[in-house]
């Protein structure tokens, strides 16, 4: 059937080239997609960082006029939107893509083409949203904050295209994320190596699993909120129109129903990364693996029960405030458990402070500071003092930079040899860490003081008699030190990539399956499907102890046809592209553009369905 239809409807043949630009565009290889995610997201991280510079330069001294108030609004909106949706999430998605099949002993994810589609959705969505800076119309850039509260987003108060860019852009980015969520869950549930039960999976795989579950249940809520906003703005609907009796708080509830799980979507995989790094460089197994898994799952579930703590100031009344205050305090328990587990992992271990380890330890410290200030917001009475001040800005930067970004840096140093076949320079790496560590604290710690002194967030300037001059100056100096630290990473990256590939398969003497195969891994990952008898099975193969010396592993499954590899395809890229074109059409009120987008989308789906299997087989000496 497929071949017959392929002749009639598969209008583009499956591409077959293995190298060159177009082979990357049409790739369905999870490792290549992971690397594309990481590189794109790092570039977006630099874009968001540049926006942060502009914000900090504006605030370096009182009554500054480096940018206008309007531009400042656009800057902080795009800074947060970029960092959350286009930098940190896809950086983590890059790790998930690259590592997940390797860690569970699979040859790819469950749906390789959908995986590629996720990436293209992300790329085109990111380009779309950032193109708003170049849109030739007044107020083209989103400027309503990253949570775009109603009714600031109404046509009455935001007449330009800003909220439209934001709405359509996040819808596009969200589509890719949702699809990844389904893909990863199915991959983990269905494609683990023989013998790898759920409780023998590496901890990063566990955090990917829980994060994906959160994604598929949190993103529909934001999708609906965005669609409602779209209807309000495009068709004069009344979801958030106060004049017709609607409630602006309705948006806040819907947004944060997604928004708080999103916070944990940003941190759980980061926790997974450092839970891999710490045992490797302490030469000990992860302390309390079972507890770690349970607390990850607990955080995943409880993440859906705390959203209203973002809204203590809107007047929900004592009952609602109290309930959400309590759930917020409760969620810090599994988080605290994790911190003690990490500390206990290092305790008594042979700790080796490589760059990856430094970033992991830095994570623990900075994330704990961020967690403590977050915990303070759990008390509605205390939060009423802190809300909308720089104290909140301090909290969010400690958990997202000190937390997520430090873990991502740790992961980059740790898995770089596996991804690129080269070891990042350790000496530069140590500098990289210390400059970033000092720079970050210089940049974000003053926010605590500024917040307690009453400096509101999102203000574009302040007057000298407020007494905020000194700490703002310190913070701006800090952001440049932080940027210097990130530049050191780029230098290290450039320097390392000019070396020849010489990384060993297992440079860190590590514990999980990705280290059993060459660096970088071959296209088909594993010559032989690995079989597993214990958690950290690879470690016990190298160092059997009395509990793990006679492990019985399941037989290697035999596939008589050789190793089957999925074929490359143009369709994921086209589908992502034409979705975006359709989004542009909706935003511009252009029927022609919308029609092009929809027809293209339809054709891409038809092409997808009928292009045939297109896979090929690899024969490897010594087994499958």
């Amino acid at each position: 059937m497929a071949t017959v239809a392929a002749k009639t409807l598969g209008f583009l043949p499956r591409p077959t080239s293995k190298t060159g630009f177009w082979s990357w565009v049409t790739t369905v290889d999870h490792k290549r997609i992971g690397i594309m995610y990481l590189i794109t997201a790092f570039l977006m991280f630099l874009v968001g960082g540049t926006e942060a510079w502009a914000i900090r330069i504006q605030l370096i001294r009182p009554d500054n006029d480096f940018v206008s108030a309007q531009t400042f609004n656009a800057l902080f909106t795009m800074h947060a939107t970029t960092m959350i949706f286009m930098a940190i999430m896809p950086l983590l998605a890059g790790f998930m893509n690259f590592l997940l099949p390797l860690q569970i002993g699979a040859r790819d994810v469950a749906f390789p083409r959908l995986n590629a589609f996720s990436y293209w959705s992300y790329l085109f969505g990111a380009i779309f949203l950032n193109s708003s800076w170049f849109w030739l119309s007044e107020k083209g850039v989103p400027d309503t904050g990253w949570f775009s509260y109603a009714n600031l987003t109404s046509l009455k108060f935001s007449g330009g295209l800003g909220p439209d860019f934001w709405t359509v852009g996040i819808l596009l980015l969200g589509t890719g994320t949702l699809v990844s969520g389904f893909n990863f869950i199915v991959t983990i549930l269905n494609m683990r190596a023989p013998g790898m039960t759920l409780m023998k999976m590496p901890i990063f795989t566990w955090t990917t699993f829980i994060t994906s579950i959160m994604i598929i249940f949190a993103f529909p809520a934001i999708t609906v909120a965005l669609l409602m906003l779209l209807f309000d703005r495009q068709f004069a609907a009344n979801f958030f129109n106060v004049e017709s009796g609607a409630s602006v708080v309705f948006w806040q509830h819907l947004f944060w129903t997604f928004g708080h799980p999103e916070v944990y979507i940003l941190i759980l995989p980061a926790m997974g990364i450092i839970s891999e790094v710490l045992p490797s460089f302490s030469r000990k197994t992860l302390f309390g693996y079972n507890v770690m898994v349970i607390s990850t799952a607990a955080i995943g579930f409880m993440g859906f029960t705390v959203w209203s703590h973002h809204m203590f100031a809107v007047g929900m009344g004592p009952i609602v405030n109290t309930v959400f205050g309590i759930t917020t305090m409760a969620i810090s328990i599994p988080t605290g458990v994790k911190i003690f587990n990490w500390l206990s992992t290092m305790w008594g271990g042979q700790v080796k402070f490589t760059t990856a380890m430094l970033f992991a330890v830095g994570f623990i410290m900075l994330f704990t500071i961020g967690g403590l200030s977050g915990f303070m917001h759990a008390l509605p009475a205390s939060d009423a003092q802190q809300t909308d001040t720089y104290f909140i800005v301090a909290h969010i930067h400690y958990v997202l930079i000190g937390g997520s970004i430090f873990a991502i840096m740790s992961g980059l140093y740790y898995w770089f040899p596996k991804m690129f076949g080269r070891m990042l320079d350790e000496k530069l790496g140590q500098w990289n860490f210390w400059v970033m560590f000092v720079g970050f604290n210089l940049f974000a710690f003053p926010f605590h003081f500024l917040g307690l002194m009453g400096m509101p967030r999102r203000i574009y300037t302040y007057s000298s008699n407020m007494g905020w001059d000194f700490w703002n100056l310190v913070s701006t100096i800090g952001v440049f030190v932080l940027a210097a630290g990130i530049t050191l990473f780029l230098v290290n990256f450039g320097k390392t990539m000019s070396k020849k590939m010489d990384a060993p398969a297992d440079p860190w003497d590590a514990r999980s399956l990705e280290w059993t195969i060459p660096s970088p891994p071959p296209e088909h990952n594993f010559d032989k499907v690995p079989t597993v008898a214990a958690l950290d099975d690879f470690w016990y193969q190298k160092y059997p102890d009395e509990h793990h010396k006679d492990l019985v592993r399941p037989a290697t499954p035999v596939d008589a046809h050789g190793i089957h590899m999925p074929g490359a395809s143009w369709m994921p890229m086209f589908l992502g592209l034409f979705n975006t074109v359709a989004g542009v059409g909706i935003m511009m009120h252009s029927t022609v553009v919308l029609a092009i987008g929809l027809v293209g989308t339809f054709l891409a789906i038809v092409g997808w369905a009928f292009e045939g299997d297109g896979g090929y087989h690899i024969e490897v000496e010594g087994g499958h």
Partner: protein, 99 residues
């Protein structure tokens, strides 16, 4: 499909369930004719729609015969969605601006 293929429902089973669904719909319609005991009628209507839900999910969507994981996955999503809807209704109403 491998499990319990032999107990796969027959054509007749599905038709019977179709008839039950028809009867439930009639009952729901008739329930609205009853006045004066709104609490009981509401409870009955919710009960009837739960019955429809279970019949369609369990039989038409084969959950009864599938691996339990699928029922758990869908059930988790459904219950979470239900809790979200109920909680959202409550917290939105708790905010004075709504009135």
């Amino acid at each position: 499909m491998s499990n319990a293929e032999h107990q796969h429902p027959t054509f007749g089973t599905f038709v019977k369930i179709g008839i039950v669904l028809f009867l439930i719909t009639i009952l729901e319609w008739a329930g609205l004719l009853i006045n004066g005991i709104p609490f009981l009628v509401k409870a009955a209507l919710i009960g009837l729609s739960v019955a429809k839900f279970i019949l369609v999910g369990g039989y038409f969507m084969h959950l009864k015969w599938e691996k339990k994981l699928l029922a758990w996955a869908f059930g988790f999503g459904f219950v979470l969605a239900l809790l979200m809807a109920v909680t959202q209704k409550y917290v939105n109403m708790a905010t004075p601006t709504i009135h």
